[in-house]
Symmetry: C2
């Protein structure tokens, strides 16, 4: 089944202690859409400026991402620049220029409104709500968020949480939203705020899936060298939702596998800058790494 994704589309400048790149394809919706495209057709909802490179439109199309919901307007595309320390868990935002994103009013093409699966990638919760209000009873809605919205848009975020099936967020955000150091308590408290499922991403420690009748702990892939962590969380959530859309099932088996497929795609994405690694990724690569995840976490009955 198809998947609608909305979120930011950006031109990123990313600096690590070893490399620096400019005008990379970035933004939560870009990462999530390309990640999801390995599993299911994607309908993209977003905005770019007239400066948006044609090669990136080609990249989306190569991944069979439908662009009817992409607004191209006069002006500059949203730009973000950031710098990582040697410990790549530590990131500093150097600059943000919203540009055309400042006046973004997502408007869904009529044929998008019946898309059964939805991933609301990280943008302001009011925009996420606005997209959701245009959907016709979707089967399963996943949303991501970030610390900024927890700080400045908590009310809209709480409203959103009552309308979605699954919230995906990282451990720092979970702790901040619930004001609780224990991730187990935070995960269970988040469930009480609305969503049926909560996924807490823990970076190098893997991730946790919480539900009323499921708890699943997935490991992280043991990468020695990470080149660019940007977008890993978006890739995780895009592939997670993409796999669920592909199976058409929301059961424990599908949810567990979706968490692993999300981890697989995210682990590949950090091997290179922007979406470069995913450009050459094959279904065999995905299946191979899924097997490695299984080997590294499987143990027999006691």
């Amino acid at each position: 089944m198809s998947l609608l994704i909305t979120g930011s589309i950006a031109l990123d400048s990313v600096k690590t202690p070893v490399e620096e790149h400019h005008d990379l394809l970035g933004g939560s919706a870009s990462y999530a859409s390309v990640a999801a495209s390995f599993f299911t057709p994607v309908n993209l909802v977003g905005i770019v400026g007239s400066d948006f490179p044609k090669q990136y439109l080609d990249l989306y199309q190569k991944h069979h991402i439908n662009l009817d919901g992409l607004q191209v307007v006069e002006g500059k595309t949203f730009r973000w620049s950031g710098e990582y320390e040697w410990d790549l868990n530590k990131r500093r935002t150097l600059s943000v220029a919203l540009n055309v994103f400042e006046t973004f009013q997502p408007k869904l093409p009529a044929r998008y409104s019946k898309t059964p699966y939805v991933f609301l990638a990280n943008i302001a919760p009011t925009l996420q709500l606005h997209v959701l209000s245009q959907m016709d009873r979707p089967k399963f809605v996943v949303a991501d968020t970030m610390d900024l919205w927890i700080e400045i848009a908590r009310e809209a975020l709480q409203k959103l949480m009552k309308k979605i099936d699954c919230l995906v967020l990282n451990e720092g955000e979970a702790r901040e939203l619930i004001k609780e150091t224990s991730l187990i308590k935070a995960g269970r408290a988040l469930l009480k705020m609305g969503p049926k499922y909560v996924v807490i991403k823990k970076g190098e420690h893997g991730c946790l899936l919480f539900g009323n009748d499921i708890f699943f702990s997935a490991p992280a892939y043991p990468l020695e060298d990470i080149h660019d962590p940007t977008g890993a969380g978006d890739c995780f959530a895009g592939a997670f939702t993409g796999y669920l859309a592909k199976t058409g099932r929301i059961d424990h088996d599908a949810l567990r596998k979706a968490v692993i497929y999300g981890s697989v795609i995210a682990s590949y994405n950090v091997e290179s800058f922007s979406l470069r690694r995913l450009q050459t990724l094959t279904q065999k690569d995905i299946a191979d790494r899924y097997d490695v995840f299984r080997q590294m976490s499987h143990f027999e009955l006691g």
Copy 2:
């Protein structure tokens, strides 16, 4: 097969934001021996003073721990006191009194020297080496350590690492020993220093087992309430080695299960102060929680 355990035996005073207890049975060898006793007979090597309560000797004996290697000498038992913050990952040592431990020269009873499995719980690496030198070709030797020895006894620790089969340490210690933020790189670098296997304990994030031909990632049990984290790592390593001794096999299947059994016992131990929870623990409790670990980390083939 039987298991020899050496390490510290202490009387602990432990304070958390909600409770405070004095003269608790503590020390790395105490936790490890009781944890291992659920799987295999234990030969304990250690020292206590003449003030050591008889009830704790009874406790060891109730767990069929052989005390022929326990020296009881005139003077006071080793004492440790510590305090935990609300975030129980944060511990402060308030006082340490070595007492009889200061002059401890482990001397193995003749019948101990052929014990096939050995766990050198946390004490000075020179003492760990001294115990090992009295052993007659043990089948499998596991050692634990702590930040203090990395700082003040690195040379002895490096010598020890060449003589053991498996090193168990926590993530902070692994990073400190290797001077590397990536745990994956640290784990692999530690293998090059001697041991065939390395287990890095990550507390609430579970643990990682490294070997030349194995990598295994185990989750942590999702406890909402931890009452006293003291000794969790010692319980893990004691049960880990105890399970290996019980099976008599060192293969991938046994190693994976040993990591899970270690995690099971450690997760029970933190539910109460000192070794109280393990006093009432049954084989059924262990089997039940092992199954929960399997449910929370199992996923089917892709």
